[in-house]
Point group: C3
């Protein structure tokens, strides 16, 4: 299976696997309908050797910020040479562009709406505006480009068709500013990025944003405490803050749900405040 | 991967892929339990080359109408030669037949309860009543024929075993009338077929049911408006009706949920009314 | 595909399939996040031939008992030689061991917390304490060992690396007593093991626990009735008890939800009582 290499601490393979290309799906389509199934059906019809992996389909509907956070923090765990098909597409059927981005290690396919704006210029090899209808379904709907454009392009790309076959090269993608940490009178103010299945609250702080390891962390007015190693660092039922396994400051409750404990629901605009000691 | 052909506007492949047969699963089993996993385990044990794709497992429990709508509107997006395993089976353990239907382009396996009654006689090559216990699990339960009968039959079929090995040919399957559009004094009356993940409401109207493109659409007593191109055709937060990407009249709210906007819950019997202009 | 064999009534294959090893995932991670996707990405990066099957990811968070019940009653339906990766891991980051268990027919990978305590000593060939960091990700987090340890070990194992490469052999795994049937003055008392997607209530009784086939079954104070064949044995809307397709006494409502009918929610401690006739 080739020599193992390490990329940012993650095991990856050096070469694109033409025998079994991997296509990773990230969408806000959910699993209630057949939308995801049909995308896989289209790809399987074009390339039966493609391996399809669901990253998640539970991005909150139309939430580009959440989609960008999800792709940004997960894409490197997939084999180098993989194709990331990511669709959170509130502007489907309007004039927003359809993209294929080739980077040093991956391909990204999806709408040009900020979903991929975490990619650094230095990483990007080329950006293609998807235009060549030879690689789309015959009829293009106004509401389901994941099926009509993105899935067939991913299927053809996985067969080894060159990126520049799919349309003209362009120089820029839409950029959206990521959540920033703001300075306040008494310390720092950050945001909630994600609430996970366990009710853990992921914040916009990374380790290098923290003033020091003894700073005090608040969720709105409520004290969480100082930075710990893991949720087992506190007693059961107590809140705890630590750097999660993706490098972000996360708030949990040992054996419970921080979202319940702090009454945080998806979409909450509560601030995460840090007071320097 | 063979020559591409177009079937009803969908890209498909001309030949059955014996190297990697595709089996598509549509059930009301949900993903809370291991029911779907076990079905895949049985198939993988019989044919490790089979590619398994989840169409959806979120058909409302025991709802044959919803299952039929789901299979009917999605099956053509999968590669020709694929096997559709569809199980919504409230009559499991009673005398309802177990079916294998071969059509010009696909195979369908599941209970004989109306799930497949959308298939036209002209499409069907043969209908097999599954009887040959050599291709079932050794012990047949009274409550889980998807595991004991349908999954092993799909696995053996994918290995190339001929359909008529599985049981005697029969001439008919159970037919259930699809939702019809009814004429009323003031126009037309149709039904809700499905509410999707986004809260979009799929109705039983197709384009050829609509009197003209300027007709006025109501959900019960509430006005939706005239037919538009896509949800982006109206302002954010407003309701909109358009022909969806599967050919059905759909009601949405731009950037929101039509189910919430119109207070429609799964199983709602509200009528979709169309007044001619 | 080799000769078919029968193991406890289940079709299995005699030999490990090195061409396409199967890895089965059972977790409490849910599908809301990318946790499961990333595990698959790690495995696919190590062995692109591995076939990945989701058993379920909807074990109630941190519920080891439910995880053990799930793995115990499902693992035999997967091909012999498969690798079961099972992670319900409230003690992640503490001193609990990480295990690879080889049995006569399967491999099991996961935390040493009782999840695998259903395995009989006579079945087990060897137990490995996972220690060899050559087969882990380079950086080990304190909160996501499924990604950092269990997934890469499963990937390497599926490539044919010998179990004893992963760490020293140990003699015991953590044992947790399974739910028992207790004798009471008036009969027997058992527990609720699981509530499924349909609202069916799985109990801790198996057929050999029942005093006779005419015993009377109660859920708390409420009468369910005598043992029947299947849910179709009673009228629609009525409760019914039968031996389910996994060998356990199950309580259902024909065409409905027993959990709703009896007001049982996940985690309910209601007893299932059996009065001898």
């Amino acid at each position: 299976m080739g020599e193992l290499q390490y990329l940012d601490g993650v095991i990856t393979l050096a070469d694109i696997n033409t025998d079994r290309p991997i296509i990773i799906l990230t969408t806000d389509f959910g699993l209630h309908d057949y939308y995801v199934g049909i995308i896989k059906g289209i790809i399987a019809g074009l390339n039966s050797r493609a391996g399809l992996i669901d990253n998640t389909h539970d991005i909150p509907p139309y939430n580009i910020d959440s989609g960008r956070y999800t792709v940004r923090t997960s894409y490197r765990y997939y084999p180098r040479g993989s194709i990331h098909l990511a669709v959170v597409d509130p502007g489907v059927g309007t004039k927003r562009k359809a993209l294929l981005i080739e980077t040093r290690d991956y391909f990204f396919i999806g709408p040009d709406n900020g979903l991929f704006s975490f990619l650094e210029k230095t990483e990007i090899i080329r950006i293609i505006s998807l235009k060549n209808r030879d690689y789309f379904l015959k009829e293009i709907s106004t509401t389901f480009h994941a099926r009509d454009i993105f899935a067939p392009v991913a299927g053809y790309l996985s067969l080894g068709i060159s990126p520049d076959e799919f349309g003209p090269e362009i120089t820029d993608i839409k950029k959206i500013k990521s959540n920033k940490i703001r300075k306040t009178k008494s310390g720092l103010s950050g945001d909630i990025l994600h609430i996970d299945h366990f009710g853990n609250i992921v914040t916009s702080y990374q380790l290098n944003n923290l003033p020091d390891s003894s700073c005090l962390i608040f969720l709105g007015q409520k004290k969480v405490g100082r930075l710990r190693k893991t949720y087992g660092s506190v007693k059961k039922g107590f809140p705890v803050a630590y750097i999660n396994s993706f490098g972000y400051l996360e708030i949990a409750v040992n054996g419970g749900s921080a979202a319940e404990y702090f009454s945080i629901v998806p979409g909450s605009k509560e601030k995460i405040l840090i007071a320097t000691s």
